[in-house]
């Protein structure tokens, strides 16, 4: 009789079992997926602020738009977004280049143009900033919306820092003609 008193009632066993299943469901729900686990680590900064990640430090010093972009002897007409950027490696310059430079507007990604010589894919020095420009050729009718610049060392952005700079395209000043700055040391 005393032994029977200590036996768990059947309803309690079922309740505990159901409770464990619900708890497991919550654990599964709270566990991040592969995309979240491997997501880049954003370093959000404003225009003019320095963002420092694992091995990438960058400052966007100016943002402007133009319909005629010049870079040395090269020029092209279009809807150009131009950014002046100081960028450096932080700890190591081994195989380090600015391989990811994209603007995201309304969920659409635009890569930095490879047509003019720019900071895109430029090798970086550890602790010594390089100054230059990035040019983005946008669709002709794209002149408003929230834009996000992403800068990272690898085109595969996963599991590394990514400098993120948000700005409003409407607020970017426009000039009829502009020059992409030459790439060189920030402090010559």
């Amino acid at each position: 009789m005393a032994r029977a008193d200590r036996t768990l009632p059947r309803w309690a066993a079922w309740s505990i079992g159901a409770g464990l299943v619900v708890a497991a469901w919550f654990v599964a729900l709270a566990t991040p997926g592969e995309e979240q686990i491997q997501a880049p680590m954003p370093v959000p900064v404003a225009v003019g602020e320095e963002g420092i990640g694992r091995n990438l430090a960058a400052t966007v010093t100016d943002v402007r738009r133009t319909s005629e972009l010049h870079a040395g002897g090269w020029s092209a007409e279009g809807n150009w977004l131009v950014l002046d950027v100081d960028v450096a490696a932080v700890t190591s310059e081994r195989l380090v280049r600015l391989r990811h430079a994209e603007i995201v507007v309304d969920g659409v990604r635009y890569g930095a143009s490879e047509r003019p010589d720019s900071l895109a894919d430029e090798s970086l020095s550890a602790g010594i900033a390089t100054r230059g420009g990035l040019a983005f050729e946008l669709p002709a009718d794209l002149d408003s919306g929230n834009a996000t610049l992403e800068l990272a060392l690898s085109s595969d952005r996963r599991l590394d820092s990514m400098i993120v700079v948000e700005f409003d395209l409407d607020a970017v000043p426009t000039a009829p003609r502009d020059e992409l700055p030459e790439t060189g040391w920030a402090n010559p």
Binding site: R3, R6, V90, T91, S92, E93, R94, S125, A126, G127, I128, W185, A186, N187, P188
Partner: protein
Amino acid sequence: MGEPVTGWWRRNAVALGALVVVLPALGATVAWHEWSEADSGVPAAPVVVEPGQDAHYGKAQVGPAVADFVDDPLAPSNARVLRVQIDIDPGASGLACAEPMLRELEGAQREWDPDTSSLTTDWDPLRPASCSSDLTEPYTLDVRYVVPRDAVGPFGVDVISSELWPDNVRFVVEP
């Protein structure tokens, strides 16, 4: 209360004993599996050569290494140029090595590649920046690095030959 609990432990003694063995074994197996490949591709611990000393590297005699900061009008104003010179006696069979990397041995432990494009280097075939297996007479490696002004040393200069991998030599220099 005490008697049934004791009975439960007794009834499950074999399973509990197995748990005590299996759980540590599982942990050890997973740890060994993960760590066994953790250092693949990493060079062996370098042979550290202190300032003023030299070392055998394969059949070659390397060192001593000296470093000093030099002026270069093309260097940025917030940086200095560190010039590292390493004596190499390659021996009859020659020694091939890549351009050595410079690393900070203290503080942030930053790493720099040799600068081959932005500085005014006078190229001298007997003072190359990397070792060539064609050279069998003694010569001096002459490598320049652009480093920020707050990088003061001591530095390590890593000489690595793919033929002698994973052996490598690290010269400690203090400009």
